[in-house]
Symmetry: C2
Subunit: 119 residues, 2 copies
């Protein structure tokens, strides 16, 4: 199994979203799915990553690896998110060397969760 | 496999930690491991959950379930954390009904990550 990029489709990015408007999270999800995906990455929309104070938010996870959550993302970050997701997918344990991570991943990490297999 | 409560042992809780002092995260880890654990919960210390802005932080995860990260925790929260961890362990999918969650879990969620098996 490759990496899953979960994208919160309900994120309001801290702004009021008028009724009928598409939330920023849904816009980010649409932009990501419209782009060319790196090898080994699938995108799955999800309603709420419980990171409402730091939206838009996405998570990266795969079996046996560290999982990451990133926040305060915008449409400007689409290519960086996919770049980072591709590197995450290619890494054995989810840990991409610091120097290889896109800036948005270096600076906007909300949290990471160790693999369940960790001692 | 039961639930794993990962506790960040390096969390400084936003305060300077003088050299030689035990970081707040390590104190929280020690207090949690010294308490009586709920059924199905194991505690694992981890160096950095990348939630440094919202420490002390812990995560809850188990196979096939949503994983959660909580932050801004103190030694006063030990019993609430263990109460919530026990309910998490007992839930089929990691989602504990809102009314049953300890207040600290309701108010101090940093993020959650869907199970990999989700569609």
């Amino acid at each position: 199994m490759g990496a899953t990029l979960h994208v919160c489709t309900t994120c309001k990015a801290g702004e009021p979203v008028p009724e009928g408007d598409v939330p920023p999270g849904a816009r980010l999800h649409a932009a990501l799915t419209a782009a060319e995906l790196p090898e080994g990455v699938r995108i799955v929309g999800v309603e709420c990553l419980s990171a409402c104070n730091t939206g838009c938010a996405v998570s990266l996870s795969k079996p046996g690896a560290w999982a990451y959550v990133y926040g305060r993302l915008t449409l400007d970050d689409v290519s960086a998110i996919l770049d980072g997701a591709g590197k995450y997918a290619a890494s054995p344990d989810g840990i991409v060397p610091w120097r290889d991570r896109p800036t948005v991943f270096r600076k906007q990490s909300i949290a990471r969760i160790p693999p369940l297999e960790a001692p």
